[in-house]
Subunit: 426 residues, 2 copies
């Protein structure tokens, strides 16, 4: 008979040992040269291709289990790996080779009046805990980005992808060890289910930061449970405001691009606000273009008066990240009303104004509190690749450490190097 | 009869309203000019001097209560305010006027290949929650630093200073309002005791960051309880390692300065490690100088063989921040053993090596994981004023957002400003 308390203690011990091994290995990785890390990345890409059959076989088991459990088509699609997708994952790993290594960069430095020299130098965070949902490509993506920035990873993927992730972790560890760095820089707690996730979130001795990637519910659960510091990569209830002076051609193109180009991502538009003075002029062409692309309009009373085909909006709609071709549309009487609406419903991701009024543009840029605030640009630009970062770890919607698209430097900390010649403080 | 649940709901409502008022006021403060903020700081200094009698009277009540409750002499001294101390607090507020305003600084910026212009600009965090213990000067210090960096504060001071802090908060609010900014940028939850602290730590809608200042136990409690992101300003179990090649004169001066100059602060030395090959040469002069200044030496067996007057060390000693004239001293056989000891007991604040061996210096700087790592310098240099920051919000011992001494820029976040001309994403 199993004593539950003993089993629990054993579990904690096993998980502790695993995370301690990641921490220990992270010390070696922190001192690895860029060339060593790049060689490990190349080895990962090669091994992914070499073991494509094993990965696909494991993935089939997950898919079968998913189908039996009644997972939806969208979820099953995100879960699926085939030769082409695995090739794309390997290519993405090779892209990371081309990125600059942030470790060792001198961020600031000076000689103090007494002659002591101080330098602030970038160092890896240590061990990055990643908690994510059904996309198994995240397993490889996050491990590759962490590796390049000198960090070990402790992974907790979605249970739906458990078999696939287990093989991917094996591939990562073998490839890294084969390239001469410790395989222990990649660890998983997937085989310990919820208890593994719980342990990871509270392992302050071994894990330096947690990055949850997934639904608002997942992120909220991590924030509530974790004692390890969290970087939130949040949901986007993203707004665009068409001011009274907005150009019609820009309005039509910007709203369409922000909503339709890729509706399932966090920088896609969820709510369109239109100044009352421009509603007659702008709404008909804007909504016509959207509906031609299959967008479902949820309008307030004034929108529905102009555009009777719109569904009614609810208070819940305004607060919802649809991630689909649904769009909330409202008419407001002033810039102030638009700002108040955004203040109330924004998730502080990305907000944009379309205007030709300089004063209004500056007020919007100044007063809206969000990771990215735009004038006359599509909200889809809030993106690491678009910003020229080369890779994106996620988009932070918090204010500490990183805000907006996160590149490799956001996976580092700094330390102060102080050099004296017997200097004492007076 | 009071229904406890109703009372609890009312309490939450009152606290919510207060923190919401701080958030609302922070929006005005975020747009205040440097001149407006400096005028408010000058008004605070003036009003502190004008109301010195009220402050001293309230402080006497706290002191009386403290004496009745049996507070120790050290604690009572830290709690005490008199004319001179209030004058010093006012002077410190005027010093903040002279500091650069971090808000509005462009941290980075570029024009994307498609012509879109992006700029990353410093903005205030919003509302800073401060949780601290018996020193009432912190109430004014943190409010002044927050004000200059455009942030509102929500304060939770020690219950021992409750009356004093209540008057100080009144002074701050009156002075700020008198200078034309909203007095609501300073709020306290002190009058709601532990429930106030608990509410503050979980007020994610209104509070952007928590900064605990005080004992390791206080900081640990905040980390455990908080859902608002925390910047840890941690304890310092600070080490110095005298390598085999260390100069005797530097060793004597550096150890003495690090331990004795101000033993009650976090960058003071707690543990001295000496290379076995240098123990005979260095320990006698180093310990003689320390003992002449009243230091109590806690030594391992090898230290006590050389210096029989030393007390024995325990495992607990090695992990303790004494904050007194007690020093742990150990002999190690190698740099590796010194690094292993530091890895085990360090709180990742400040670590220093004294050596003339270039290779060992570089290995120490490279391998030790701490906010500040030093060679041939006193650990007392880890300090905002010494680093030239002009003011210090605290010394962060975490890796996210800020590491080491925090100045005003560490009380800010950034936002991305994106300017297009109808640009859409391809």
């Amino acid at each position: 008979m199993i004593d539950v308390r003993t089993a629990h203690a054993d579990l904690a011990e096993v998980l502790d040992a695993r995370l301690a091994a990641a921490k220990e290995a992270s010390r070696r990785l922190a001192r690895a040269t860029t060339a060593e890390k790049d060689a490990a990345l190349a080895a990962i890409a090669e091994r992914l291709r070499a073991r494509v059959d094993d990965i696909v076989a494991a993935n089939r088991e997950d898919l079968e289990r998913g189908r039996e459990a009644g997972l939806g088509t969208g979820l099953l699609d995100r879960l699926t790996l085939d030769d082409a997708r695995i090739g794309a994952i390997a290519d993405a790993v090779l892209d990371v080779v081309g990125l600059g290594d942030p470790v060792g960069e001198t961020v600031s430095g000076r000689t103090l009046p007494n002659g002591v020299r101080i330098e602030q130098v970038r160092v890896p965070l240590g061990v990055v805990g990643a908690i994510y949902e059904a996309r198994p490509n995240v397993t490889v993506d996050i491990a590759a980005l962490a590796l390049k920035s000198g960090n070990a990873v402790a992974l907790r993927g979605g249970s739906a992808a458990e078999r696939t992730n287990a093989v991917l972790v094996e591939v990562l560890r073998e490839a890294i060890a084969g390239a001469g760095l410790p395989g222990d820089v990649v660890q998983t707690v997937d085989d310990y289910g919820r208890e593994g996730a719980r342990h990871l979130m509270r392992a302050r001795d071994h894990v330096d930061v947690l990055i949850p990637r997934g639904s608002a519910a997942l992120i909220r659960a991590v924030v509530d449970e974790a004692t390890v510091p969290v970087i939130e990569t949040g949901a986007g209830v993203v707004h665009m405001f068409l001011d009274a002076s907005a150009r019609e051609d820009w309005s039509v193109d910007l709203v369409h691009n922000a909503k339709v180009q890729r509706p399932s991502v966090c920088n896609a538009l969820e709510t369109l606000l239109v100044h009352a003075d421009a509603a007659d002029r702008l709404l008909p062409p804007v909504l016509a273009r959207l509906e031609a692309s299959g967008v479902t309009v949820h309008g307030d009373d004034r929108v529905r008066a102009l555009h009777p085909g719109a569904l009614p909006t609810t208070d819940e709609d305004w607060a919802t990240e649809h991630m689909s071709l649904d769009l909330n549309v409202g008419v407001v009487d002033s810039l102030d009303d638009a700002l108040a609406h955004i203040r109330r419903y924004s998730t502080r991701h990305t907000e944009s104004i379309v205007t030709n009024d300089l004063g209004n543009a500056e007020r919007f840029l100044d007063e809206v509190d969000a990771a990215a605030v735009m004038v006359n640009a599509s909200t889809r630009f809030t993106d690491g690749a678009e910003f020229g970062f080369g890779a994106e770890v996620g988009i932070s919607t918090q204010k500490l450490h990183a805000r907006g698209p996160m590149g490799l430097p956001e996976l580092t900390s700094t330390k102060w190097i102080v050099r004296g010649s017997g200097h004492v403080r007076a």
